[in-house]
Symmetry: C2
Subunit: 257 residues, 2 copies
């Protein structure tokens, strides 16, 4: 498997799912083979890619409980080169079920290491809005983490908790965990607050912050109701251009490492 | 204690904290004594009301762990009639700590029942964006739940999971739990998607949906950076008018019961 990249932030509604779907689709459009693992009990990434969650044979829940191998959970999507492990309501309360399992933080890491199927350049993981065992599993299995950040007042305060969690995982579970970057989403530069927060984040986190920002664009909110990523819904929309350019920037950052 | 009302939705970023702070402040402005319990490890409601979280003696974590009584956790805010039990990072991972405690779902209910301090007309609870033990504790202690809903595509799919959780709590932990209502937030009626979702929600949930909707209003996103509710930041803003009218509607619904 290639780079395993959770898309995480315990702050809710900051574009994690929208980034998971559209970054995955953009990387696939740039000829990469991409697997998206939906680790959120809400299953928004699965729905947003047109998957009928109640129809899926094996889901992320089955994967974590060890009742099926990764190669048996991977489903095709309507996008060439993009595959998904879907999530449904079974995942609600999974963290409680996992609490008393041995190596409870490393369950996902274990199944990814045992994967014997066709190679993926990228494995993206859509995380739930909470620092629970599901998110800790994603961080423990990760090569690097992508943090999506809305330019809102509460953004900076959430970052310190996320950095604490990253330090804890790096010290105890995954010494290779690094930060891929911070992606600013839902940005509306007409608002003073947005401009102020962007300035603060760039001043504090420097080159960790992606040059590309994702603007607020209603096409991004509409695309999931059609079950397709924005590049297949409206390729000339500002949201499409932004995610394609962000995918390219990710590849450039990857090649510099 | 009066009505205990969690403000909940496992979907992230749908205005739970914004509603907790501004509904609490509006009820206080209408001469009610209100307690806001911050049950979110992010502690956004505490910060949004100007509380220095690291300065607080007793927090929601201490309350749940039983190391202090409710009357010892209540702090004043800058608003007359509005009090808070603050939250800080101690609450991160509290659900794992609670997982093996007896009556783990009823810890909050227990401390509320033992309260011996001055009467509150309302106890509002700001919930985290996940159906974990913290949110289950809030539902188990509740008289009725207020669900905030953003008019977005993912909104409807989240509601079914919330209703499942409510049915589970009502059957096993709190037979009196009812739904106070569904409040539409971040509404921008210029968008077709917003109008479509609003129509669907009202058609499906009928009178459970508040007449008052909370419009998208940048003053609501700015107020927390000043540590005050919107009615003290900019009383003529559309966000202030909306929350005052919503508070009045809540009181009217309460008197009809
Ligand atoms: N750049 C954008 N422009 C417009 N709408 C957006 C944008 N990004 C996300 N949205 C919309 O905002 C809402 C929140 O985004 P999304 O669900 O991706 O966030 P999330 O962080 O995954 O939320 P959660 O914390 O619940 O998992 C969704 O309705 C989505 O369609
Ligand atoms: N009506 C509104 N108009 C404009 N901005 C709003 C409105 N309601 C909330 N916001 C802003 O949207 C963001 C998300 O709102 P908020 O934090 O209240 O949601 P939440 O459901 O509590 O999020 P979480 O799931 O992380 O707890 C915040 O930056 C907030 O200031
Ligand atoms: Mg999401
Ligand atoms: Mg909140």
């Amino acid at each position: 498997l290639g780079s395993v990249i959770p898309i995480a932030n315990q702050k809710g509604g900051v574009g994690k799912t929208t980034t998971s779907i559209n970054l995955a689709a953009s990387l696939a459009a740039l000829d990469k083979r991409v697997l998206l693992i939906d680790l959120d009990p809400q299953g928004n990434a699965s729905t947003g890619l047109g998957i009928d969650k109640d129809d899926a044979d094996n889901t992320t829940y089955d994967l974590l409980m060890g009742t099926c191998a990764l190669e048996d959970c991977v489903m095709e999507t309507s996008c060439e080169g993009l595959f998904i492990v879907p999530a449904n309501g079974d995942l609600v309360g999974a963290d409680l079920a996992m609490a008393n399992m041995p190596k409870r933080e490393l369950l996902l890491n274990q199944v990814l290491n045992q994967y014997k199927g066709e190679h993926f350049h990228f494995v993206l993981i859509d995380c739930p809005p909470t620092l629970n065992l599901l998110t800790i599993n994603a961080l423990s299995a990760a090569s690097k983490i992508l943090i999506t950040l809305q330019t809102e007042f509460y953004a900076m305060e959430g970052l310190t908790q996320m950095h604490d969690a990253i330090r804890h995982v790096r010290a105890n579970l995954n010494e290779n965990l690094s930060i891929d970057g911070i992606l600013l989403t839902l940005v509306d530069r007409r608002n003073t607050l947005d401009r102020q927060v962007e300035k603060e984040v760039r001043a504090y986190y420097g080159s960790q912050v992606y040059e590309t920002v994702i603007p607020r664009n209603v096409r991004l909110a509409e695309a999931p109701s059609h079950g397709i990523p924005i590049i297949h819904y409206s390729v000339q929309a500002t949201g499409s251009v932004a995610y394609l350019s962000m995918a390219q920037e990710m590849l450039e950052r990857e090649s510099i490492e």
